[in-house]
């Protein structure tokens, strides 16, 4: 998916729900802060989205432009109506949202996660695909390990889980350095 596709999804979601503002979570919210990222970040054909002020309308998005819909069949990408609880995010993430509002969104607003917050959501989810996404964010310099580690205390998870998350970020950073990537923040 590219930025134009995401703008199309925001526009279509607005038409379906008659809502004005949407939040994009999941990997494709990277297209907010980084409109043209390397391909490794945008292989997904799916965008997770929910209406900011009408969360219950997320199911209508799924039904109309979700996986297997006519919209999907026509364009090759689709939306997934989710809820805000889908992403586990550091405190204050709302104040760091990145706004998309263009002719492509028909003037409607899509709020994407800041890249650091996206990293934390993916790092705590820790599925195979999340690990690859997070390591690529560090590798390309979009996220500094030290900055990510400083956000761990703000994650709404237990202390023990915070410890594991910190260790995970350090482990990924070390693995990248071992592969010869120049990662700043030598103290991590």
């Amino acid at each position: 998916m590219n930025r134009e596709d995401l703008e199309h999804i925001i526009r279509a979601a607005a038409d379906i729900t008659n809502e004005y503002e949407f939040v994009v979570v999941g990997s494709q919210s990277i297209l907010g802060p980084i409109p043209n990222p390397p391909a490794v970040f945008t292989m997904s054909a799916e965008a997770d989205i929910y209406p900011l002020n009408a969360i219950d309308k997320a199911d209508a998005i799924d039904a109309a432009i979700g996986e297997g819909s006519r919209f999907h069949e026509t364009y090759g990408y689709y939306a997934q109506g989710v809820g805000p609880e889908t992403a586990c995010l550091p405190a204050g993430w709302q104040s760091r949202l990145q706004r998309i509002q263009t002719a492509g969104t028909n003037g409607r607003v899509g709020y994407c996660l800041d890249v650091g917050d996206l990293f934390m959501a993916k790092a705590v989810a820790d599925r195979d695909k999340d690990r690859i996404f997070c390591m690529a964010l560090i590798q390309y310099g979009y996220v500094l390990p030290r900055a990510a580690i400083s956000l761990v205390d703000d994650m709404p998870i237990e202390k023990s889980a915070q410890g594991r998350l910190r260790a995970r970020i350090k482990r990924w950073t070390k693995a990248l350095r071992d592969r010869g990537h120049a990662i700043p923040d030598d103290d991590t």
Binding site: A45, D48, D62, G76
Partner: protein
């Protein structure tokens, strides 16, 4: 909330996925490697991987042996007992005048783990594959959709679409039905759900929606 005594295909899939996840968590908590676990159970690592993925293919005996090694075979008491069933009319319990204890289990997806979305995608794919078996012309439709997507120009899904050509050609569905990262990526770029009739697709979405809200499995009256 009404108690469901019949399970839907999506719910069955979800229950197996949860069982697989639980067995995997238990094995990791006991610090047993997959090699050691497969050896103790007397199965291959591939079969163990299938059990931990909640695959319906392994036999119930295999699931039971894995549970035994992990020390949770006793949980099967719930199944071999008649907890969920009314007692026979001519049994002591059946003639009791005391109210029968009500047992209900709430099953739902964990919203924090993208479970419902993953399950929905898996269920749409399973349904599409089932329908292709019944009506092979749907395979042509999947090919057409894929061809149209690829003709729309440069796309970052191209490598996945290219792999889909091979999957459709060989009907190699298992590649896209697993829980691996690659299988998930493939499902996100898949033409299969687009061949489903809208009513079938909406039925799957309705099952997922019910599961998100929570389905109660309970006594059969």
């Amino acid at each position: 909330m009404p108690a469901f005594t019949d399970t839907t295909s999506v719910l069955e899939r979800h229950l197996l996925l949860q069982l697989g996840d639980r067995l995997k968590r238990l094995r990791k908590a006991r610090d047993i490697s997959t090699v050691e676990m497969a050896k103790r159970v007397g199965i291959s690592r591939t079969t163990l991987a299938a059990v931990e993925a909640g695959d319906p293919a392994p036999t119930m005996g295999t699931y039971l042996r894995v549970m035994s090694v992990l020390g949770v075979a006793g949980d099967l008491a719930l199944l071999v007992g008649d907890t969920f069933q009314p007692p026979l009319a001519n049994s002591a319990a059946g003639s009791s005048k005391r109210a029968r204890p009500q047992v209900q289990v709430m099953v739902s997806t964990d919203p924090r783990r993208h479970e419902a979305q993953d399950l929905q995608s898996m269920a749409l794919h399973k349904e599409a594959i089932r329908m292709i078996h019944e009506d092979p012309s749907l395979l042509d439709r999947a090919h057409e959709v894929l061809e149209r997507w690829r003709s729309q120009g440069d796309s970052r899904s191209e490598s996945l679409w290219s792999e889909w050509e091979t999957i459709l050609e060989n009907r190699a569905w298992r590649k896209a039905l697993g829980r691996t990262r690659r299988a998930q990526e493939l499902r996100q770029a898949s033409p299969l759900p687009t061949v489903l009739p809208d009513a079938v697709r909406q039925d799957v979405l309705a099952q997922i929606l019910a599961l998100k809200k929570g389905v109660v499995l309970g006594d059969q009256e």
